[in-house]
């Protein structure tokens, strides 16, 4: 049960302002989820320099310097950036190699995001304070997702925060509560998929990642999710080239989309969109039940 805010920029001149705009949106949905928060930023040069891959991790108490020292034994160019309770590692190698290296040198760490474009930052605390801790206002990039969490049935820890980024450059955030996630988790587990948390939203993220891995596009993957999942959900799902929104058949959990030639934005409430440049002339609407709204980069 939570607040969602996401921004997909079409106009490159806005890229330097991504973090500033996303911070403003995040602060407007704070009341919906004051327990904890998480963000995903696509294309920030500090976290995801071009030509390198990025891994985000909750280091389990291991200091950033120790992680950097250990990593450089195998990846001499690896850079570790601290962002609150999260560390972001980047190096000029592919995401899989970097993920493996991180897992080897910090076995107690939880990898919360990996790819060429995405940095995922999570923490427990007041969302506004977390945004500052993450250094979000200064972030740049072409797409960002933010989530504030009011935990329902799982614990309040950084690992339980959204976004759930379980496939390369993918992110899913959720407002609502799935009603049959335990069964789908069992099915995915039986198919060899491992989970990091007992959060119902992670089941949604793993399901979407499995469909994408099977070759379906994002739109089709979300259609399949609607067929399979019961419960109430507003989902915002992003990948390295797309941004998509879907709601359940009843569509009670709030969602508003605004679209201009410069950007597409989605949030739980209007107030999160009200500060965006040019919002006065945006096309504003609420997504229909079980309809997938997707935008390509």
């Amino acid at each position: 049960m939570c607040g969602i805010a996401g921004l997909h920029l079409r106009e490159p001149s806005l890229y330097p302002r991504l973090g500033e705009l996303l911070t403003g949106m995040l602060c407007q949905v704070t009341e919906r989820g004051p327990d904890s928060a998480g963000v995903a930023v696509y294309g920030d040069p500090r976290w995801s320099p071009p030509g390198e891959s990025t891994v985000s991790l909750l280091p389990g108490g291991v200091p950033a310097d120790d992680v950097a020292t250990a990593l450089r034994a195998t990846l001499p160019e690896a850079v570790v950036v601290g962002a609150g309770q999260t560390l972001v590692v980047h190096a000029a190698t592919d995401a899989e190699t970097l993920t493996d290296a991180v897992r080897t040198v910090v076995p107690g760490a939880l990898v919360i995001g990996a790819g060429e474009d995405v940095a995922v930052l999570k923490g427990v605390g007041h969302p506004q304070a977390l945004a500052a801790e993450f250094g979000l206002p200064a972030a740049q990039g072409w797409q960002g997702v933010a989530h504030t969490r009011m935990a329902t049935e799982s614990a309040v820890t950084p690992a339980h925060c959204h976004p759930f980024s379980v496939g390369t450059d993918q992110c899913l955030v959720h407002n609502g509560s799935f009603a049959n996630h335990a069964t789908i988790r069992r099915e995915l587990t039986a198919a060899g998929i491992a989970f990091d948390s007992d959060n119902d939203s992670e089941v949604g993220a793993r399901f979407v990642a499995a469909q994408l891995a099977a070759g379906y596009d994002l739109e089709k993957s979300l259609k399949l999710l609607c067929e399979r999942f019961d419960g109430f959900y507003t989902l915002l799902v992003s990948t390295r080239d797309s941004f998509a929104v879907v709601r359940d058949a009843i569509a009670c959990k709030p969602a508003v989309i605004a679209e201009t030639p410069q950007w597409v934005a989605m949030a739980s409430e209007y107030r999160a969109l009200a500060g965006l440049p040019g919002v006065e002339s945006a096309r504003i609407f609420e997504p229909e039940p079980e309809e997938v709204y997707a935008w390509q980069r």
Binding site: Q28, A251, P254, E269, Y270, A274, I284, F285, E286
Partner: protein, 247 residues
């Protein structure tokens, strides 16, 4: 009360309150302070007109009013703006969040932009005008309110509508008027689908007159002949086993 003095300080005492509205800037004043001032027993004597700036999508703005006052809110509002309104006229110069004018009793609430879901939910009376579009469940469980929407309405609008009139100048989403009781619905555009027990009904002269009155009250410029009327088939009023699948 501290709250009142804060609001009072924003009222320019050199102007005649009967002519100039009292100003409240929600970037400087809290919603609590605003509502306290609007709930004062002598609010109408103090200022019959109120202008609220920088609403910033905040929730519960101008809720529970019960006085003959006119409140204009310049910008977007969050959930439940003008909730349970009585007597007062509230205008939102922007978009409204979930449940605008929920359980309104009387008075007028006007949204210049769009309204989110559950606009006018369970409202018992008064007039709610949404000049833009309303999202899902517009007029859910309506109990006597009149709602006029300039644009479209989302799915499940007028669900379990008990009394009152819903006028939609645009299109409707799925399941319009599901489980309807005695509320009447007029639609100018297309109806995506009707809900259980909702049927199209004949547009008789009294309905054209009623509709014309509602459109005039809402200030909507629409031609009554383009509208169709929908109401309850009253098949679900008392349980019958043959209708079990419709429940």
């Amino acid at each position: 009360m501290a709250a009142l003095s804060t609001v009072d300080s924003t009222v320019d005492s050199t102007v005649d309150p009967a002519v100039e509205p009292a100003l409240v800037d929600l970037s400087l004043t809290t919603v609590r302070e605003l509502n306290t001032a609007l709930h004062a027993p002598d609010v109408a004597d103090k200022a019959a007109r109120w202008r609220v700036t920088s609403p910033g999508g905040k929730h519960s703005i101008a809720v529970g009013l019960d006085a003959d006052i006119d409140v204009v809110i310049e910008g977007h509002v969050g959930y439940y703006c003008a909730g349970m309104n009585k007597t007062a006229t509230v205008t939102v110069e922007g978009n409204a969040g979930v449940g605008v004018a929920e359980n309104m009793m009387s008075g007028t609430v006007r949204v210049r932009g769009n309204a989110s879901q559950s606009a006018g939910a369970t409202a018992h009376g008064g007039l709610l005008v949404i000049e833009g579009s309303a999202a899902a469940r517009c007029g859910i469980s309506m109990k006597g309110v009149d709602i006029v929407v300039g644009g479209d309405v989302g799915h499940m609008s007028a669900f379990m509508g008990q009394a009152g009139r819903l006028v939609v100048c645009g299109d409707t989403g799925d399941a319009l008027g599901d489980s309807l009781y005695e509320a009447r619905i007029y639609v100018a555009g297309t109806v995506k689908s009707l809900g259980a027990d909702c049927v199209e009904k004949e547009m008789r002269p009294e309905h054209l007159a009623e509709l014309a009155g509602l459109l005039a009250a809402a200030g909507m410029d629409a031609d009554v002949v383009s509208f169709r009327r929908f109401g309850s088939a009253r098949r679900l009023y008392n349980f019958h086993v043959d209708n079990a699948s419709a429940y």
